[in-house]
Amino acid sequence: MTASVLGRVVATERRPNTPHEFHFWTALDAPVGVGTIVRVESTRPVNGVLPSVYGVVTEGFGYTDLQTPLHDVLGADGVPGSSASAPTERTEIRLYTAAVLRQVPEEPLQPVPIGTVHLATEADVQAALRMDTYVQGSDARGIPVGAYRSGGTDAAVHLDADFLLGPEAAHLAISGVSGLATKTSAVQWLLASIFTHLPARKGKVAAVCFNVKGPDLCFIDRPATRLDPADRALYDALGVPAEPFAQVRYFAPWHARGTHLATLRTHDALADSVTPLTWGLRETLQYAEVLLSREDIDAKADALIDFIKERVVDQRFEDKLLEGAHEVRAFADLERWFRELLQGMEAANQEQWRTHHIATIRKVRNRLGNISTRCKGLVTDDGTVSDLPFGAFEDRAVYVVDVAQLEEDAQDLVFARIISQLREHLEKRALGVEQVVVFVDELNKYAPSDGADTYVRQMLLDIAERGRYLGLVLFGAQQFRSQVHRRVVGNSGTQLFGRMDADELATPGYQTLAPATKARLATLEKGQLMVRHPHFGQPIFVRFPRPAVLTGREGVEQFPPAEVPTLEMAVTKTLRRLDASITVGQVQDILALAGDDEEAILRARNVTLLKRPDNVLAFFSKQLRKRVAPEVVGGRGPAPLRAPATDDEYG
């Protein structure tokens, strides 16, 4: 037993032990540091039981028997090098402060007794973090978050699924500086861990990840190119297969030009796996307030928009000021409706129409008409809708929504609508899965602690406060936790911290951490995290493996985005997703019929893609004919179909 003794608890009047903190000294070469978990053994029974105390080192001190540095200067005659040759080294102490993780028995809660200090074993780590209550047994629900490593002890650290995904607590907030905190990697790893370890009895789970910058999440279905043996050992130890996500569906809006998707995952080998994300008037109008500022929408404008939503869109609408009946199903239809209405009012010399003033009508027309321009690629004029499979979400699937190339307004619209749809479907228990993890990066931007009260922030607050009852779980990442709305981070049951900025650590939110813990946070290596979880009495440091997926940067190197295609190539590529035999030549022949009406061509392509007909070319051609009146020039017959070029790479 003596051999395993790491140190000894000490207490003085000036530095007493308390029920939540104690001090111990060790040999100079003891394998202990900030974050090490230790166990105190007392020899004095309390109520007939020998107490055990588990603690985590939060601070370390080292000093010698010198009273002042001046004494060392005097002793060395002012020559720094001379003390190195002294035949004896000064007596030196390593004194550590540890925060209590758990006392066994828990009652009576007493100051930590004087006793021997031991490095925590794997079993001790489980007991110290109260994981023994949820990692084993019939109700096991532990989700490995990483490995605790210190002094030769290697122990898996599990989160409680009931406190990570609900219903007891939920949500996760991960903070750290860009590039070094490995926030995205940590979330990818944790999702893999959840998918592997969440018991089937807890229901189906899926993840919706918003890719908000670069190619971060664009290749998570591809295997990592570099996973070293240490990473693989961690995967083995934590019981998670070192494999990319098996089921990933990518969604991206069209580029504003409409020829290609606005994503970096456009390499020919991968492009088929990205589904267009497009919404029409009805989908957009529900969230009009996301796109319209408070200054834009006063009570009068709001009333008109409500009227349009309830009485005009998706139904037959007649009015004496209009030339005929309208069926407004797309932005183009709405524009026609506005135009006729205003013309009718002018003709009748009317300033009011159904209590709405002409100025209000003009203003709303302007603002709504603007939306399809501001969100071009996402919002279609023609009402084509291509959406996430709400209602048919699959278990253990990741739905990546790439909004990195969208304007800020359009990003807000995507967040608002997808999250609202998720919530509505979860409320009805009709999503396809019982729990959805929504990963949002850059919470500093979307849920800031100050600034305007935006729709997106309200929605994130709503998830944070009520999502756990629905199974809607927010995994938010941010560089500065102090600048995220306190109710968003405050409602996160689990908090992860990667390498932190020193200025951020100086903010009040971190004042409960010891200086040494802060110093460690400021210098954390990649792949290390500090974890706060409801069961853990104190923050714990863990190590997690690199995600077994291709990183965004490697992904774009391995699968460089395709060149911006010509219209013909863009249509061909898209249609080839439905029928691989389609050639550029065939498409060119059909496009010749459409003349220069690029919008009509793209509309036809979108409808074809959405309908997935058996005869793709015929359907596509029919769509074009619907829109474009055949124009016979000079009485010539239709141009003969061109034979496919022999060097056509798609032929």
Binding site: G75, T88, R90
Partner: protein, 314 residues
């Protein structure tokens, strides 16, 4: 101390707050400074010699002892003193000091047995070891409380010396290199004969030199020593001794940085005194600060004292 208090309470004796240790009371340390002539062993008269060569580590271990004497209570005018002593050898290995063997510790209630009720003495003796301050003394105690306390202090000093001597004898028998002892070694028959034992005396209430030779001793400069002499003391064992200046006194007391070294008077004394002086000079670093005697105390002895303070019976 706690054991003594428990013993007294068990015997029905009231115990008040303990006073300051007797070692700190100036009345008990009032011997007059003096000068004693010596007989040269190196050359025919006392001379100054620069220690040749650079200081070099040669000491293997350090021996020191500490004591604490506190009046626990009085029975009438008789002080009952709790004495606690400890001694240890701290052996150096890889520049770290570790206790060699076991440290020696002892505590006792020190009192004049003849001046107390036999039943009380019996009751106390059943709980804690007793040391009789009158045993073996040539003159009976005067009954003056300070005289009784002074005798108790002497008894505790003897307790400490006994522990130090026991450790010194053990090192001579089993130790593995030069041992630096805090204080003289002439009181130890084994130490005074062993080549491996070096005594370093820090206090100079008695200066060993003829009055005419005093300027030589007090004028030593850093790194200089006097030639070796032998001390005259019928109750002590013969040793060779010399003064060595560890630190330049500048304008400070002429005793600043001055130590007296004692070794067994064997072999080539000049070569031996030079070598030992180099060893002692090497021990100036690290300094013994913040000990007030840092100018004459080597760090090994200070560290030993700190260790003993931590383990001294309380």
């Amino acid at each position: 101390m706690r054991a003594a208090i428990r013993a007294l309470r068990a015997a029905g004796v009231g115990v008040g707050a303990a006073g300051a240790p007797l070692e700190l009371r100036p009345a008990f340390d009032d011997a007059a400074p003096r000068v004693e002539p010596v007989t040269p062993l190196e050359g025919d008269r006392l001379a100054v010699r620069v220690v040749p060569g650079a200081p070099e580590p040669g000491i293997r271990a350090f021996l020191d002892g500490i004591q604490r004497s506190q009046v626990v209570t009085h029975i009438g005018a008789v002080p009952l003193v709790h004495g606690a002593v400890a001694a240890a050898v701290r052996r150096r290995e890889a520049r770290q000091l570790r206790t060699w063997g076991e440290a020696r510790r002892r505590e006792a209630l020190v009192l004049p047995v003849a001046a107390l009720e036999p039943t009380l003495v019996g009751a106390l003796g059943a709980v804690i070891p007793l040391v009789d301050t009158t045993a073996g003394e040539p003159t009976p105690p005067s009954g003056h409380p300070q005289d009784l306390a002074a005798r108790a202090l002497t008894a505790v000093q003897r307790m400490r010396e006994a522990e130090e001597l026991a450790l010194l004898a053990a090192w001579v028998a089993e130790g593995d290199g030069p041992l630096l002892v805090d204080g003289g070694i002439s009181g130890s028959p084994e130490g005074a004969r062993a080549d491996a034992v070096i005594g370093v005396v820090k206090s100079h209430r008695t200066l060993y030199a003829a009055p005419a030779e005093l300027p030589l001793v007090l004028g030593l400069r850093e790194g200089e020593r006097t030639t070796a002499v032998t001390l005259h003391s019928p109750r002590r064992n013969p040793v060779a001794s010399w003064y060595l200046r560890l630190r330049d006194p500048g304008a400070r007391s002429p005793l600043f940085g001055l130590v007296r070294v004692e070794v067994a008077p064997t072999g080539d004394l000049t070569a031996r005194a030079d070598a030992v002086s180099r060893w002692v000079l090497a021990e100036r670093a690290p300094s013994a600060l913040p000990d007030p005697r840092w100018d004459v105390m080597v760090y090994g002895i200070r560290e030993c004292e700190e260790y003993l303070t931590a383990i001294l019976p309380r």
